[in-house]
């Protein structure tokens, strides 16, 4: 089966800074692919380049058999990509309900999906009427993920879902993401290697704006040398919670 998303050697500039210098990624359908790498390696920029928020200057982005590089971000999103940005960018002025409602791509999306969303994140039901800025960090992160589920998206781009979450919430987030992966494809950026290694089917390592390694997550977990070289996590720590 053809992959849902392929990046062919994309180059992205932000201002005059050459952030991505050749990122090539293949995301197979119905699996979780994880982007790994140090801070500032270009993982977030890769996600933004796929969506056209920071359009790549060179290279191809093929989503679902269609070249999308250079198209406007809203067009690309409407082809069926859901985005969960880092730092839980929920809309503070909007209630939880409105935060979900605004993500509708078709009329009635939210009504159709609300049961599924509440089954993943039961807390949101209780908080439904509250404004976004009344939510705790963890609740905001749940909301940010839930927002990407309202429309029927074929691919979810999730950026650092565990960032700043308490261990118990990381647990809940992992359960939710695993549940999601049954119905949709996920491209995940994650610094927490324990979470990444337990969720991912495939991995890519980005270093200095280039994809340097990729393969099955199983193989990476057993390759202590690679982990140490690119991720700065020594294998001794794997297994403990950060």
């Amino acid at each position: 089966m053809e992959p849902i998303l392929t990046l062919e050697s994309i180059h992205t500039f932000i201002g005059q800074f050459h952030i991505l210098e050749g990122v090539s990624i293949t995301v197979p359908r119905d699996k979780i692919t994880v982007l790994l790498g140090r801070n500032g390696a270009g993982k977030t920029t890769t996600l933004k380049s796929i969506l056209g928020l920071t359009p790549p200057r060179l290279g191809k982005v093929v989503f679902d058999g269609m070249e999308v590089q250079g198209k406007r971000a809203y067009d690309i999103a409407n082809f069926g990509i859901g985005y969960v940005p880092e730092h839980r960018a929920v809309f503070r002025n909007l209630s939880v309900m409105e935060n979900l409602k605004i993500a509708e791509k078709k009329r009635g999306d939210l009504e159709r999906k609300s049961d599924f969303i509440f089954s993943l994140f039961p807390d949101l039901k209780r908080l439904y009427k509250l404004p976004g800025n009344h939510l705790s960090g963890g609740q905001q992160q749940m909301l940010a993920v839930a927002r990407a589920l309202v429309a029927d998206n074929k691919l979810l781009l999730i950026d650092e879902p565990s960032e700043g979450l308490a261990p118990i919430l990381i647990e809940q987030m992992m359960v939710a993401i695993r549940e999601l992966s049954k119905t949709t494809t996920i491209l995940l950026v994650e610094q927490n290697f324990i979470m990444a290694s337990q969720l991912g089917d495939f991995f890519y390592i980005i270093d200095d704006g280039k994809t340097v390694e990729n393969g099955k997550m199983m193989d990476l977990v057993n390759n202590a040398d690679l982990i140490k070289r690119y991720l700065g996590v020594s294998i001794g720590k794997v297994g403990g919670v950060q």
Partner: protein, 498 residues
């Protein structure tokens, strides 16, 4: 914005309310009931006018980061359009077919897209083709307006209507259809060329939906019919409007002027502001220049003279109504409000300001557009990433903002002189209002406008009472701004973190 009920959040507004109540009580004791009520009502009227300008400014700035220095000129344009429609709409109905023909041409853009994308245009030609299309298009506009008596049309509103049977008997410089018909055709062609340019030949990055363009065809066909009708009905329509009940004509003028303002807003956003989003400073210069262009154009059409727009009969029957209820039957010029004689039209302005605030509140709070605007004020990229065309929302918001300014202009027209620079003072006060209320907050604009209106009215009263220089009264609004900014640098309802 509405949903925050934490005490800390409401505290500044609460303090403001307490201070205002205190000041109000003190001035009530000091001034006596009559002057106090009179001054307070004047303050409300001014506040309503400031709000009409500030509301558009603040939502445009909040979402788009655009400081619109042409807002006062748009307020003025609205006043002129409303006045023209009310006094004699021959000018508007004479221009309408040309504008409609051009818009019809432009509306074909989405139909051209699938055609244009198939053209094999060499990259080096892309720019040249667009430039050529636009130059030829502009040339067609110039040819279309060749020997068109715009000034004669503009003057029709100055000729008093004498003949009840045919209100246009004294003033009708319209050319006959035999001469006129070629103009809309030329403008339609010009619009077509602009539409092709807007479809950007040679740009392969565009997305063509496979959906059948039936909707676009229907829209264009509808516009063609409307344009043809507007060509044929130029005079009958004017006569029909003039024969209408003057009160209905007045309310129609409010709607028409707002619509013209909104249309102008869309046109300006797409053609002038959109190319400049990457260079915010250029937008400031551009809007400043646009303000001059609008003022000079109006000056060219109607001379740099101040006109007085007649008040509709609803607010101009002789005598004084004993109270507001009595006005509903008498339609008097003035109303007795707890012993103060107050012009009924000014009360209408206050009501109009209140209705606008309520309308904006409902729009922002309960509509999908309002939801998108509130979200976009915080994070435009995220809204775009949800599949929403933020650029299109920008056009709508700019149209709403300019429409509100135009509505304010028409509302003001019957009691301030209609002249090319009538908007300038309101623009200045509008900016101060926006700063006081907090950039981007329309509720803040409401509170700020009220505060400023009162400051100005009571400042005037004090200046008169102690025979101070009127400059003190004018400075009062700035003094309020300084105090507010010292206490809350982001404005009363502004956000701290932005």
């Amino acid at each position: 914005m509405i949903q925050r009920f934490q005490f800390k959040r409401v505290l500044p507004s609460l303090i403001v309310v307490v201070i205002i109540l205190g000041l109000g009580l003190a001035s009530y004791r000091f001034m006596g009931q009559e002057s106090f009520v009179r001054t307070a009502l004047s303050g409300l009227t001014l506040g309503a006018l400031y709000f009409m300008v500030a509301a558009g400014l603040t939502i445009i700035f909040g979402l788009m980061d655009v400081l619109n220095f042409a807002h006062g000129a748009m307020f003025m344009t609205g006043a002129y359009m409303g006045w023209q429609f009310y006094a004699n709409p021959t000018f508007l109905f004479g221009i309408l077919p040309l504008a409609l023909a051009f818009v019809t041409g432009l509306a074909t853009t989405s139909l051209w897209l699938p055609v244009v994308i198939k053209w094999q245009v060499p990259e080096s030609w892309t720019k040249r083709i667009n430039t050529t299309l636009i130059i030829v298009g502009l040339a067609l506009v110039v040819v279309g307006f060749q020997k068109f008596d715009v000034l004669g049309l503009a003057e029709t509103a100055l000729v008093p209507v004498m003949h009840a049977g045919n209100p246009l008997a004294e003033a009708s410089p319209q050319e006959t259809l035999a001469v006129f018909w070629s103009r809309p055709v030329l403008l339609f062609l010009s619009g077509l060329l602009f539409a092709i340019a807007a479809a950007r030949p040679g740009d392969k990055s565009q997305h063509v939906t496979n959906a059948k363009p039936t909707g676009a065809w229907i829209r264009v066909a509808g516009l063609v019919v409307v344009t043809a009708a507007s060509v044929l009905l130029r005079e009958p329509a004017s006569i029909a409007v003039l024969k209408m009940n003057a009160d209905i004509r007045f309310f129609l003028a409010l709607i028409v002027g707002t619509g013209i303002g909104a249309g102008l807003g869309v046109l300006i956003e797409i053609s002038l502001i959109r190319p400049l989003y990457a260079r915010p400073f250029y937008i400031v210069l551009m809007t400043l220049g646009l303000g001059y262009v609008l003022r000079e154009t109006v000056q060219l059409l109607w001379d740099p003279v101040a006109y007085a727009m007649e008040r509709p009969p609803l607010f101009s029957q002789a005598g004084e109504a004993e109270n507001i209820a009595a006005w509903f039957t008498g339609h008097n010029l003035t109303i007795d409000i707890v012993g103060v004689t107050f012009p009924s039209y000014r009360l209408f302005i206050i009501v109009l300001g209140g209705v606008m605030l309520l309308g904006l509140f409902l729009l922002m709070r309960y509509s999908r557009l309002g939801m998108i605007i509130r979200a976009g004020v915080q994070d435009r990229n995220m809204v775009e990433a949800l599949g929403i065309n933020v650029k299109a929302v920008f056009s709508v918001v700019f149209a709403i903002g300019v429409g509100l300014a135009a509505l304010g202009g028409i509302g003001a027209a019957p009691f301030v002189p209609v002249q090319p620079n009538m908007g300038d003072v309101y623009q200045l006060q509008g900016f101060i209002t926006v700063v006081i209320g907090g950039m981007g907050s329309y509720l803040g604009a409401g509170v700020g406008a009220l505060l400023l209106g009162m400051a100005r009215a009571f400042g005037d009263f004090l200046a008169l009472k102690f025979s101070l220089s009127p400059a003190i009264a004018e400075a009062s609004t700035v003094i309020v701004m300084i105090i507010v900014l010292l206490v809350r640098p982001a404005g009363l309802l502004g956000k701290k973190d932005e």
